[in-house]
């Protein structure tokens, strides 16, 4: 495999701490390396693509800003799609976070930060080396939108979509809740929508939900089946309805438990789910209307594409090994694991699978594996991470879930909190993906302790990943004791999104605890 490594100086932010030049020199013996002043500007993006083409690269490792940056900004999204177009499979791209998780939190120990950065880049290289190519599918978007919540904002968004010739289905517990609030302001819009031939109102609840952005299937408790290209959620501060929708829509939630958008200032209506837009609660009707316009606009531009590409990051089954025990069927809350009772063989329904990896952990034979993060990769990553030896203090395997743990650790870096270099981060898709075998491997590799930083209750994007981890870990503690490993050396805690401070405090407290135990 021809891997290219791109190191970012982070406009001086990274190179202030991490010796990027030295890293480049070390890695250049093994692969083409480029040092760029940043991975965020247009010129560097062009430089990356040029390298990919000139050097005929088939895998790329970007070491710089957090991978979340690529998911949450237009700029990052653009780079990813350019790389895709240049022939880099999504699984052949790994992003090492040497900014938020190395340079910022280890400012006062530059030498150690550089050593740690090297190990983290090694993990990314291993990731692309062990990856399987992920399949892509293209969905032709349906020109229909389901608006959940007949609030004023929902009605205004729908009005815009109807003007643009979309079919609109309204779904709510009551016919039109907007009339409870801004009656005078919404009455005319409501009248217009009520008479529109392309608008329909449904008073029911969701009983089943699956599909992709561009083509969702929504089954209702009253038996009706809706199909939608996009979904706009406009339920205001209705916490009860948020609780009902959360297992289906899988959106991030804020401290109050309400759904939240990707960003409060730059991505005001986009959510973690590509095809679902959110109009958050607003104090004034003017703000509601502008957010409604934004949501309708985003939805329109998504559904006006010829095709929407989806990466099939699903769970796959080794048919030579699966014996049809049914554990995955009992584990998957999305009903994506299916079984042929005669052949005794399980399979994955790719329309339903969200790729969380909960079934992979649960599978007692190891027949199931995750395309985006195979068991072989995680084990290898744990071994590589264990090669970093901090100058003093314990060494922690700090497992962070991509939902809440990872952003929190990033946030800690961004807020200027420093912590010891012995905290070795390992990102997993979801806490539910954490196979207890990994914990044993970590202790075997000599980590002083293992921390699993997951989403707190009712915040897991995969609904049950965090609680399934607890179930497994509780049973597993007896295995640790049986090997003479104190179960206290495994710590699991839940954070809400961007809770950097508590994320670090818990790690530092745990390190003190381990030091007192004599585990430094």
């Amino acid at each position: 495999m021809n891997i290219g490594l791109f190191l970012s100086e982070g406009d001086g932010e990274i190179s202030k701490t991490v010796d990027v030049k030295a890293l480049a020199a070390q890695f250049s013996e093994r692969m083409p390396v480029s040092v760029l002043d940043s991975l965020q500007n247009a010129a560097s993006h062009r430089a990356i693509i040029r390298q990919v083409e000139d050097r005929n690269l088939d895998a790329v490792v970007l070491a710089g800003e957090s991978p979340l940056f690529y998911k949450k900004t237009r700029n990052g999204e653009r780079l990813l799609s350019m790389l895709n177009a240049a022939g880099i499979n999504p699984n052949r791209l790994a992003i090492t976070n040497i900014h938020e998780q190395v340079a910022l939190p280890h400012r006062s120990t530059p030498e150690e930060a550089t050593k740690k950065a090297k190990v983290l880049i090694d993990v990314s290289i291993e990731k692309v080396l062990l990856s399987k190519l992920v399949d892509l599918i293209e969905v032709s978007p349906r020109r229909s939108v389901t608006v959940i919540g007949t609030t004023a904002a929902g009605l205004f968004a729908a009005q815009r979509l109807l003007e643009r010739n979309f079919d609109v289905d309204f779904l709510d517990r009551e016919e039109v809740r907007a009339l409870n609030g801004f009656r005078n302001q919404t009455q005319p819009t409501l009248a217009a929508i009520k008479n529109h031939p392309k608008a329909k109102f449904h008073v029911s609840k969701i009983s089943d939900f699956y599909g992709y952005a561009g083509n969702y299937r929504i089954n209702l408790e009253d038996g009706k089946k809706l199909r939608a290209g996009g979904i706009i959620v406009a339920i205001g501060d209705d916490l009860k309805m948020t609780d009902e929708l959360y297992p289906f829509l899988r959106l991030e939630r804020n401290e109050k438990g309400l759904f939240k958008t990707l960003s409060a200032d730059t991505a005001v209506t986009e959510t973690v789910q590509q095809g679902i837009f959110l109009i958050p609660e607003t104090p004034t009707i003017a703000a509601a209307i502008s957010l409604a316009d934004s949501a309708a606009m985003s939805c329109d531009s998504m559904l006006s594409q010829n095709a929407i590409r989806h990466e099939l990051f699903v769970s796959e089954v080794d048919e030579e090994v699966c014996g049809g025990c049914g554990t995955c069927i009992k584990t998957c809350i999305f009903h994506a694991a299916e079984i042929d009772p005669v052949k005794k063989l399980s399979s994955t329904n790719i329309k339903r699978c969200v790729g969380c990896g909960n079934c992979v952990s649960a599978c007692p034979t190891g027949a199931r594996d995750q395309i985006s993060g195979s068991t072989a990769y995680y084990l290898s990553a744990i071994r590589i991470l264990s090669t970093y030896k901090p100058p003093s203090g314990p060494r922690l395997l700090y497992v962070v879930c991509e939902g809440c743990g990872y952003p929190s650790l990033d946030f800690a870096g961004n807020s200027g909190i420093e912590y010891p270099t012995g905290v070795m981060p390992l990102a997993v898709r979801c806490a539910g993906r954490l196979d207890t075998q990994f914990i044993l491997e970590a202790f075997k590799q000599g980590f002083s302790g293992v921390v699993i930083c997951k989403c707190k209750d009712d915040h897991c994007l995969n609904i049950v990943g965090n609680t399934d981890l607890d179930r497994r870990a509780n049973l597993f503690r007896s295995v640790l004791s049986s090997r003479g490993i104190s179960p206290d050396r495994l710590r699991i805690f839940g954070v809400s999104d961007c809770d950097g401070a508590s994320c670090v405090t818990s790690a530092v407290d745990f390190m003190k605890f381990l030091t007192n135990m004599g585990r430094a």
């Binding site: 025990c325 009992k330 044993l440």
Partner: protein, 296 residues
């Protein structure tokens, strides 16, 4: 065709795998046309001659086992690890959950039937190794056949493969594939435990002969265990104990079973009713990721 010269030997084991070979009865005859067993505990030859195939049964627990295993490797062109002890460390391996000192004291000093006991120290008695090991952890192994013991049929098939220089195939799916019990809950895609409670098999007066053990609240190792044993135990209305060891894609049996049970049976009941560690690692502790108690 020249006969294949074979030597068999017993390490730390119960002799069960040798018995299983003898259990072939008249089916041994066609095998003996192609095999010449020149050394075996059965014919009581002590020295290990040069052979084409060395078959070892049992795990490596003491210095004598270690020496015999190395002697076999030196004298044999190919080595077959026969049975679970040789392949996975077997039930002897559970000793690895304790320090060697504690094991010796428990047996010879703090034993209920011992008065003023001492740990034997005669130079003619082989010393226990600090940890029990599977054969491949001590010498290179060419073929491995798990099973406690492997069925006579499995042994015959394996030997025929070796004689004919074919790749020795062992089953790769889990026991559920071979098990014929019916499911009411396991295949229903609903997030619910398959039973409300966990029951110890000792406490049951009657066990349903046709229904999945897990659905009856009985801990069965089948899901985390390789098939190939003809599901003898489950056919005899006894839950699988896991003697065939983990499947080829699992790293180890105990942790995998725990991952799986957490989705299937209520954890509280499991912790209360069962020795989860003992059950999960009954046969495969020496080949698990963390194969023994942490060194002090």
């Amino acid at each position: 065709m020249a006969k294949l010269k074979v030597a068999t030997g017993l390490l730390q084991g119960c002799f069960g795998c040798h018995m299983a070979l003898l259990d072939l009865h008249e089916d041994l005859i066609p095998l003996l046309v192609a095999l010449d067993i020149v050394r075996s505990p059965i014919n009581d030859v002590k020295e290990v001659p040069e052979v084409d195939l060395g078959i070892l049964d049992g795990s490596v627990c003491n210095t004598e086992n270690e020496a015999l295993a190395k002697e076999f490797r030196k004298k044999s062109k190919k080595i077959l690890a026969l049975g679970t002890c040789a392949t996975l460390g077997g039930i002897n391996g559970l000793r690895n959950l304790y320090d060697l000192d504690a094991v010796l004291k428990r047996s010879y000093v703090k034993n209920e039937s011992t008065v003023e006991g001492t740990v034997p120290s005669s130079p003619v008695i082989p010393r226990l190794l600090p940890h029990v090991k599977a054969l491949h952890q001590v010498i290179d192994v060419d073929y491995a056949l798990p099973g406690c013991p492997p069925t006579p049929g499995m042994i015959a098939t394996a030997l025929m493969d070796i004689i004919n220089n074919r790749e020795m195939k062992i089953a790769s799916k889990n026991l559920c594939h071979e098990c014929t019990r019916t499911h009411e809950q396991m295949y229903i895609p609903r997030r619910e435990f398959v039973t409300d409670s966990v029951t110890s098999i000792m406490e049951l007066d009657e066990i349903n002969e046709d229904k999945c053990f897990l659905e009856q609240g009985i801990l069965c190792m089948g899901p985390a265990t390789r098939e190939g044993c003809e599901a003898r135990c489950v056919k005899g209305n006894t839950p699988c104990r896991g003697c065939m060891g983990p499947g080829p894609d699992a790293l180890e049996q105990g942790a995998k079973m725990i991952n799986s049970l957490a989705s299937v049976l209520p954890a509280g009941g499991l912790m209360f009713m069962e020795d989860v560690v003992g059950v999960g690692y009954r046969y495969s502790l020496p080949v698990s990721i963390y194969p023994h108690r942490e060194e002090k």
